[in-house]
């Protein structure tokens, strides 16, 4: 639980009282046991007595250790708190929650909606289960503590990347196979809104969009560019705003896998040609995904700019770098500058002043490159590398250049094979 050293008054009292029946046991625990000679006499090694004090002088504790507390701490061992398991056997109905899964993990938005799904089940009664429907690659490990009773992971090449048509076909099959009471979607730009609208049009249901206050009977949603509250009966398909309910945090759930019988889909009319390279420095820093940030530890600025170009990262800077004139003010990350939301933030030569740490509060993964192993940035980082930044950046650039070459040649090979 906690690492606080707790005194054991009873043990201290036994140590002081030489007539106590347990005194021997406690005292020997403290001193490492007594040594008896061949004749059975207790032998003491006189040079071992005492210890060297802080100023180098030998001190002998005449109290025979009676004044010190025994070393055996009575503090509770750090134990994992096991949350109570919420079990749903043979559910009557399902509430389907189609997760955004940005980067393969549940977002905060998804977790809020899972909390809302459980709230709906409690209000409606009956034996309902919350199902997280996810497509593509899934890296999430904590489905159980996020409140997922069942996981319906729809896999297949047709659902990878940008495939809203294939996905909506799969969802209509889910609708046919299971008894679904509600479809919950995050009303987000990560594809939740698009998929929900497609499903609603396909099923002929009228969805509640931008809903933010939902119970079993009524739901309140925003309309007219968020200037209107529309109260209506809770429909089958809901697109929910962020913070529509509190996430689950006091129960554990089964997260058992569910399966869709038929995952075949018709050929897509929209063909995905992949992501287009955009100039990373043209992306507003607050919404950039990958930031390479420079601080006082950078000496070779040309190399830093080149590195950001090679990595395809948006450039950021700490206050010192901006004040010294190496970077423009608009690139400053932190309390005075921009509060970034990147997924990956590489801090090169930034020790991590608290103002800077505030600015990167929402970042998922921080990588620190620094010469000081004890700085705050290293404590915050998921991966810290202690060493000269110039050398490491050079090696990193070499690796990325190699990687790009091989992937390019792979592509060329594929193209020639296809031709």
């Amino acid at each position: 639980m906690s690492d606080i050293i707790r005194r054991d008054p009873r043990a201290e009292w036994i140590m002081r009282n030489r007539l106590h029946p347990l005194h021997e046991q406690y005292a020997s625990q403290e001193e490492g046991g007594e040594v008896r000679g061949p004749s059975g006499l207790i032998r003491k090694f006189p040079h071992k007595v005492g210890f060297i004090g802080p100023n180098g002088i030998k001190r002998i504790d005449r109290l025979k250790g009676n004044a010190t507390a025994p070393k055996g701490k009575r503090s509770a061992a750090a134990q994992e708190v096991q949350l109570p398991l919420h079990k749903v056997d043979s559910p009557d109905y399902y509430i389907m929650m189609v997760a955004d899964m940005v980067g393969g993990r549940l977002t905060g938005h998804d977790k809020d909606i899972l909390g809302l799904a459980h709230k709906l089940i409690v209000e409606q009664g009956g034996n309902g289960a919350v199902v997280a429907v996810c497509f593509g690659e899934v890296k999430e490990d904590n489905f159980d503590t996020a409140g997922v009773d069942r996981v319906l992971h729809i896999e297949g090449e047709a659902f990878e990347g940008y495939a809203p048509e294939a996905r909506v076909q799969a969802l209509t099959k889910v609708e046919a196979q299971y008894s679904v009471k509600h479809w919950l979607f995050p009303d987000s730009i990560h594809g939740g809104c698009d998929l929900a609208s497609r499903l609603a049009a396909r099923l002929g249901e009228r969805p509640a969009t931008q809903a933010w206050q939902v119970n079993a009977e009524q739901s309140v949603s925003r309309g007219a560019s968020a200037s209107l509250d529309i109260t209506r009966q809770t429909p089958k398909i809901l697109m929910l705003l962020e913070e529509c309910a509190d996430a689950i945090d006091e129960t554990r759930h089964e997260a058992t896998p569910m399966f869709l019988d038929d995952v075949s889909v018709a050929a897509a009319t929209i063909k995905d040609k992949g992501l287009i390279a955009v100039d990373p420095n043209a992306i507003p820093m607050a919404e950039a995904e990958f930031i390479l940030s420079a601080g006082n530890g950078i000496h070779n600025w040309d190399q830093f700019h080149e590195a950001s170009k090679v990595l395809g990262a948006t450039e950021g800077a700490s206050r010192v770098a901006v004040d010294d004139g190496f970077m423009p003010r608009s690139r400053q990350v932190g309390a005075t500058g921009t509060w970034v939301t990147a997924r990956v933030y590489v801090a090169v030569g930034i020790s991590g002043a608290i103002q800077h740490m505030q600015g990167i509060g929402q970042v998922d993964k921080v990588v620190a490159i620094n010469t000081d192993a004890g700085c705050d940035m290293v404590k915050r980082a998921a991966l810290s590398v202690i060493g000269d930044s110039e050398e490491i950046l050079a090696e990193l650039m070499k690796l990325v250049a190699e990687h790009k070459q091989t992937s390019l040649s792979d592509q060329a090979e594929e193209n020639s094979n296809a031709a």
Binding site: S197, A224, S225, S227, E289, L383, G387, K398
Partner: protein, 256 residues
């Protein structure tokens, strides 16, 4: 062969003053339509032909605006879908969400479902139309772009990332013709049962510390970054260190 491009427009709402204006995304849809079809662009509105906002759209250089005349409570979908079918449209451009009414953003999806056309959501640009196929750039979160190809005819909803609309000229707007046709008379019966009120401010979420003991509460109040969670590399060679960073970047898919 020139393609038939139709932009659907609606009455917008200024975010601060609440006055009606040309909607942001719809005017971008008109702008993109003008880029694709020039003056052949057909701009369609379902609603009141007397609406002054339509003149603001017309002021972008349109000869005429087609209005499917119908009451405010009538359903726009049947009128629009029959119009699009009759006109044999190739590309239909709309906004993502209207700025007035329910603003559910369902119009393009319902039209696509009725017509059986593909819908491409959140379009930033239509790059090229060739051999009955269009190359479309989609706007993704975090400023990213995705390229897709889609066969004509299709419906596209235009994102705020598309090119901003040109300025509207007052005089040409007044002189533009309003081509009025009869719209649908089908009333929206579901919406009658809803109650509408001015939006209330949403309550801010409070940070609740669910600590059982005083020590835990104290810790939560004075939390400092804790060490020992991340991996620290000290004595490895620069190459190994760079490799570790590289592996993390690949795993997080920020380097492709």
């Amino acid at each position: 062969m020139p393609h038939k491009v139709i932009s659907l427009i609606s009455v917008g709402r200024h975010p601060q003053s609440g006055r009606s204006r040309r909607a942001d995304q719809d005017s971008r849809a008109v702008e993109l339509g003008l880029k694709l079809a020039g003056t052949d662009l057909d701009v369609v509105h379902a609603g009141n032909a007397e609406e002054p906002v339509l003149r603001q759209y017309a002021g972008m250089g349109l000869q005429k605006v087609t209005v499917l005349e119908q009451t405010e409570t009538a359903d726009a979908i049947p009128a629009l879908s029959s119009y699009l079918k009759a006109e044999k449209a190739d590309i239909v451009l709309t906004g993502v969400r209207s700025e007035s009414g329910e603003s559910s953003g369902m119009t393009p999806y319902l039209l696509a479902e009725q017509l059986g056309w593909p819908i491409v959501a959140r379009v930033a640009d239509i790059v090229e139309i060739k051999d009955g196929e269009a190359q479309v750039l989609l706007a993704l979160p975090r400023g990213q772009r995705r390229q897709v190809t889609v066969k004509l005819p299709f419906i596209a909803s235009i994102d705020n990332a598309a090119q901003a609309a040109r300025q509207s000229a007052f005089g040409p707007g007044l002189r533009a013709k309003m081509d009025t046709q009869t719209g649908s008379t089908e009333e929206d019966n579901v919406r009658v049962n809803w109650s509408e009120a001015p939006a209330k401010a949403r309550p801010k979420r409070l940070k609740v510390v669910k600590a059982k003991t005083a020590a835990d509460r104290f810790k939560a109040a004075t939390a400092k970054p804790q060490g020992g969670l991340g991996k620290v590399m000290k004595n490895e060679s620069a190459q190994e260190k760079a490799q570790a960073i590289f592996d993390l970047l690949i795993e997080e898919k920020v380097i492709r």
